[in-house]
Amino acid sequence: MDTTLSQTVGTTDHGHGPAKGLGRWFFTTNHKDIGTLYLWFSLLMFLTGGCMALMIRAELFQPGLQLVRPEFFNQMTTMHGLIMVFGAVMPAFVGLANWMVPMMVGAPDMALPRMNNWSFWILPFAFSLMLSTLFMEGGGPNFGWTFYAPLSTTYAPPSVTFFIFAVHMMGVSSIMGAINIIATILNLRAPGMTMMKLPLFVWTWLITAFLLIAVMPVLAGVVTMMLMDIHFGTSFFNAAGGGDPVLFQHVFWFFGHPEVYIMILPAFGIVSEIIPTFARKRLFGYASMVYATSSIALLSFLVWAHHMFAVGMPLAGELFFMFATMLIAVPTGVKVFNWVATMYHGSMTFETPMLFALSFVVLFTIGGFSGLMLAIAPADFQYHDTYFVVAHFHYVLVPGAIFSIMAGAYYWLPKWTGHMYNESLGKAHFWLSFVGVNITFFPMHFLGLAGMPRRIPDYALQFADFNAVASTGAFIFGLSQLLFVYNIISCIRGGERATDQVWEGSHGLEWTLPSPVPYHTFSQPPVIK
């Protein structure tokens, strides 16, 4: 972005810094505090969900039942998915938005600061409720993170009631968070910050927030219908009363497909910030990035049934959802092209954020291609519910969403803390993660194509070798995250002082502020020419 600033006010007439003690974190209305809370919470959930993943991989290291009972295995796959989606990835992006969006648009804070605090503080309670189900009679949710009826209704453990209320609470939190982000972007931009000057991270979050407000209520609706079926005698998902279990899948995926873009669009935004900085070139095709992101968001409402090709839909439905899904490859291709074109003839350097961003481009694209394979309805009959699907969505979510979050964390940490992180440790973290992720998830493609079903604790002997490889990779990836945690903590506590611009090639309002950023910024809006 080549905006010149006539005035960059970093200090504040607000006059006061953070409050003392724990009250600061409980009662805060400051977007930076709330961003920090979101980020720590998501890191905690990432490690929790990660431990569950390692339990799954440990059990699958060898065929046969070694470590856990099948009932517990099912609870682990379910909880791992729910925690990673709703507890790790989504709050991490909201945390980054809280920190960066006001600073990028020149706003004094989020538009509705008290509601912002509420959005965050619902989450720890919602997840306590959800995790507590693991200790209840009959165990926790065991029906997969997609909680298909009738597994989640007729055959569910009693703790499903608490799962439903936990989902309601997360939905309330997400909707309020999204409303806040939209109001901030639309209403609190500094004078001169027109829509087409917004940094791409802001743009992608604007569109993500729209998706959140559109689909979280649908999720609330579907869990409410589950609650009614379980406890109040209705028959929405029961054919004996004229309902249809397939209806559950339709409503769920009407939420679920936009949800997967909710977990990737902000990642696109982060990568679109990082690549120009380290390629020392402007982002190629800014406007086309905006339009591509918007088209992906609109298309996401028209493709939900590609998750259900094998459930038995009329031919017209199979065809429509197949072609609509393939259409998404076009705007996604535009984005990948633009990232590559940004790097073309750039003076690139490879600091940790750039390494994560680059591997995002490559590995997310692999996940995108396996998605295209899955979009072919007749082929999907073969892949459906196999490890191929597991490989696909882990490629877009781990080296996709999670890598972008890590890239963003390394990229902005110096701005937040005022210190540079340890670069060699960061690179070590990257390479171990990169190798670990590929060792974990690449063999799953082969397992899936060979027919290994997902969500099972035991498997046929011919799948043993690839499973052992995948489990080894998972432990490499999992343990190397300890380096990440260590690097963050030591960066907060000290290290080489960061300059205001931090990176040689960085542009934008946030880099004009001092490092570390003062508690209140842009109390008077800057003017952007």
Partner: protein, 294 residues
């Protein structure tokens, strides 16, 4: 509207207390419902739910009082007003999507699932499940009449529902008249039109309650009566809850008008309630059409 800078509030205790009360409500409601379903004594869980709900209500009261006081003391500028407008608009959009999920359910059940179950179309194989089942809408006889005995009768749209339509649609007009009166500053007329709006809304709720009683006691139209009852009650029930909430909001702004709040240029609290009320009204028109008439 005086302040030049955007108002950023200091610390607030309300949000985290509100989160705690939501948590108490969820724990209370979850245990209560599970105990009821399992037919075991419910213990004090109902009380926990009630305590959580009361706590939430009092927190919201205190929170809104803060906001109102800040607004009355001129801390908010026009930009703040726009934030509230965006906030309310997107909140209503989220409500639209909530109802869209249930309307979508109704259309899917009615136009696809039930006909397929009755043997129509490409998915007609499901006919093998219940061979004698005839597709029809309203679904009077369900595939399994033992578990889900269908209703004997459904609600006649041209009696209570028609009256309710008239009540709600006219209440949308009366609330607009109140808004017009506010813009020219005629307080007695605002008070009158708002009171009429609240009465129309309450009348709607009374008739709705009466209709539910009739459905349960005379028509056999219950939550257990198969998918027609399920879609009927979830749509009208959530709409009724929204009318209740809307009426409470109307009563609150009515009280505020009596206290001399709002003026011709500064009354977004009032306007937000009218937006919400119109939204509830529009949903009802959809319900009247797709649930009752067609």
């Amino acid at each position: 509207m005086s302040s030049a800078a955007y108002y950023v509030p200091n610390q607030s205790r309300w949000p985290i207390l509100a989160s705690i009360s939501l948590f108490l409500m969820a724990v209370g409601a979850g245990n209560l419902i599970n105990a009821l379903s399992a037919d075991v004594p419910v213990g004090a869980w109902g009380w926990l739910l009630a305590v959580g709900a009361l706590l939430l209500l009092s927190i919201l009261f205190a929170w809104f009082r803060n906001v109102i006081n800040e607004s009355m003391s001129g801390l908010y500028n026009e930009q703040m007003d726009r934030s509230y407008r965006w906030g309310m608009s997107w909140f209503i959009f989220s409500e639209v999507m909530f109802f869209a999920a249930f309307f979508g359910t109704l259309f899917y059940i009615r136009n696809l699932a039930v006909p397929w179950l009755g043997g129509e179309g490409e998915k007609g194989v499901s006919h093998m499940l219940w061979e004698g089942f005839q597709a029809q809408w309203p679904l009077m006889s369900t595939p399994d009449m033992q578990t889900f005995p269908g209703p004997q009768q459904v609600i006649d749209p041209w009696h209570l529902p028609l009256i309710n339509t008239i009540l709600l649609v006219s209440s949308s007009f009366t609330v607009t008249l109140a808004h017009k009166a506010l813009k020219v500053g005629e307080r007695s007329r605002i008070v009158l039109w708002l009171a009429i709006t609240v009465l129309l809304g309450s009348g709607f709720l009374v008739f709705q309650a009466y209709e539910y009683l009739e459905a349960y006691h005379e028509l056999g139209l219950t939550l257990h009566a198969g998918v027609y009852g399920a879609t009927f009650f979830i749509l009208t029930g959530f709409h009724g809850l929204h009318v209740t909430l809307g009426s409470l909001m109307l009563i609150i702004i009515w009280l505020r008008v009596l206290r001399g709040h709002f003026d011709a240029d500064n009354h977004f609290g009032f306007e937000a309630v009218t937006w919400y009320w119109h939204f509830v009204d529009v949903v009802w028109v959809g319900l009247f059409l797709f649930v009752y008439i067609l």
